[in-house]
């Protein structure tokens, strides 16, 4: 709205334009032929739609760090998935001008039966890197994950924290233009979490763009300068982090207070 003349230039690195995401919320999903035909005959073949995101707009400029806040089930992860191309919007469009590293869930491609070494290659290739490139980065990845002694043991013997170390190290082996982080760091220990934060900050300093989801307001304020607040799939507010967070906090406080009152009434 503010800068209509500049609109034409590709100034946004992430441009989420009027995005609506629809899920099938049918309590009984029809996933076999038999049921399909039975319902086809009975004319019960319906798609119980559930709108997880509704007309969401989010324009991000290069180098910004955005926090996505909202209660459980408000659509934060869904928004990240649309931006990372995992989900296709039902309506609207998403444009990303650059490479993305998304940490929706760490170690998504980790195969527990393979060793850490094999998993580094497998995971790297899933993210679209070439073998040669992973060869070059291999030592860095191992060093960052601090798993030198476990390289040749199967990942099924790892603790969940160790797995996320592996996942984070692979996912951030390259400096992406856009880094997407869902609540993935909650499993690591304090030291590793600090290390990850440091790495993310370094990336930000080098000009990367960040999209970050966390329920921890202190971390959010530490990392981000802008925020978008989602509620039931709709944008409530977006803009400066402090404004949005304060508003969000006060709404939540209000809600809590209301609930308390209702309890007391009973």
């Amino acid at each position: 709205m503010e800068n209509t003349e500049k609109e034409k230039a590709p100034q946004y690195i992430v441009d989420v334009d009027n995005v609506t995401v629809r899920f099938n919320k049918a309590n009984q999903k029809v996933d076999n032929l038999k049921e399909y035909f039975v319902r086809l005959i009975r004319r019960q073949l319906m798609f119980q739609e559930f709108i997880a995101l509704k007309d969401v707009n989010l324009k991000i400029k290069k180098g910004e760090a955005w926090a996505i806040i909202g209660t459980n089930g408000s659509g934060k992860s869904t928004l990240l998935k649309v931006i990372s191309r995992i989900l296709k919007p039902y309506k609207g469009s998403v444009k990303v001008d650059g490479s993305i590293a998304s940490l929706i869930e760490l170690g998504a491609g980790i195969d527990p039966k393979l060793t850490a070494r094999e998993n580094i290659y497998l995971n790297g290739c899933i993210l679209g890197y070439t073998k040669q490139f992973i060869d070059e980065k291999f030592d860095d990845i191992v060093e960052f994950s601090e798993l030198e002694d476990f390289l040749d043991s199967p990942v099924q013997n790892f603790s969940s924290g160790m797995k996320s170390r592996l996942g984070f190290s692979v996912a951030t082996m390259v400096e992406p233009d856009v880094l997407i982080v869902d609540e993935v760091l909650s499993v690591g220990d304090v030291l590793f979490r600090k290390k990850c934060m440091k790495r993310m900050k370094e990336m930000l300093e080098k000009g990367a763009t960040l999209l970050f989801v966390s329920h921890n307001m202190t971390t959010v304020k530490e990392m981000c300068d802008k925020a978008i607040w989602l509620n039931n799939g709709e944008v409530v507010m977006s803009g400066d982090i402090n404004k949005v967070c304060d508003e969000y906090n006060s709404t939540i406080e209000e809600k809590k207070a209301k609930e308390k009152k209702e309890k007391q009434k009973k």
Binding site: Y36, S84, I86, S99, S102, A108, D111, C125, T130, D177
Partner: protein, 295 residues
Amino acid sequence: MATKPRQYKEGSFFEIFRYKDLLVQLVKRDIKLKYRRSFLGYVWSILNPLLIMIIMAIVFSFLFKREIALFPIYLLAGRSVFELANTAVSKALGAITDNTSLLKKTYVSKFMFPLSKITSTTVDFIFSMGALIIVMLVFSIIEGRLLFSFWNFGIIIVVVEAYIFSMGLGFLMAQLHVFFRDIRYVYNAFSTMLMYCSAIFYDVGMFYDKAKDQINAGVTPFALYLAHFVEYCNPVYIYIKQFRYFIWVPTLETVPQWAVVTPVDFLLGFGYAILMLAIGVFFFKRSQDKFILYI
């Protein structure tokens, strides 16, 4: 950034070229895990087709009166090709649904999963050629002449055809399986039917002989239609025929008419393969964005 070139359109089939290193990793994983888990490993993958071949050879030589020269080689050759296509497709069928958690968390070309299953089955097939070599060696000794020849290398063409064909059918089944989980039963029934139509333990010459009798007797030559159906409408038989032409036919002193492969067979073989691939890719591409809503 040079590491993530964007030459291929997202969601297109050709994106597989961007992920070629992933294909290598996935195939390596399948092969490694297969041989790592079992004690006998490679020995078992050769022993298994050998044992089945021996049982089938004994049973069918009693059942059919017709003499097929070097029947064990004939049988094993036919069965190997059928099993290649069948195993490849039935593994590809579950490839999307088995990678649910991955597909929900990262973007990756979805074609890669059926493709890697087809590829690892093909690599496995090449390993299992050891069984065929053993049988041919044994019969070389029994017959007192060398049964191997340069022609044998022709099977590479057949493997390429079967690979492309299975890929197409695999993509088609994998995407159907996302929406209809019981499609596996339909596929199993279909593949059993196909097996009986693929002249694995009998020969097409049988139909032609029967057809002659029918024509002489003045009745409609149904056997002839059946023979044509198997020979021209069943791609799997076309591949089996070619495979035998390179393995079994060179060992024969007199070559039966029905075993001779002509350029038409290659044309048909590649034609079916490419047609199947086009169909598979078309439907897979059309429905791939909906996968995530159903897995």
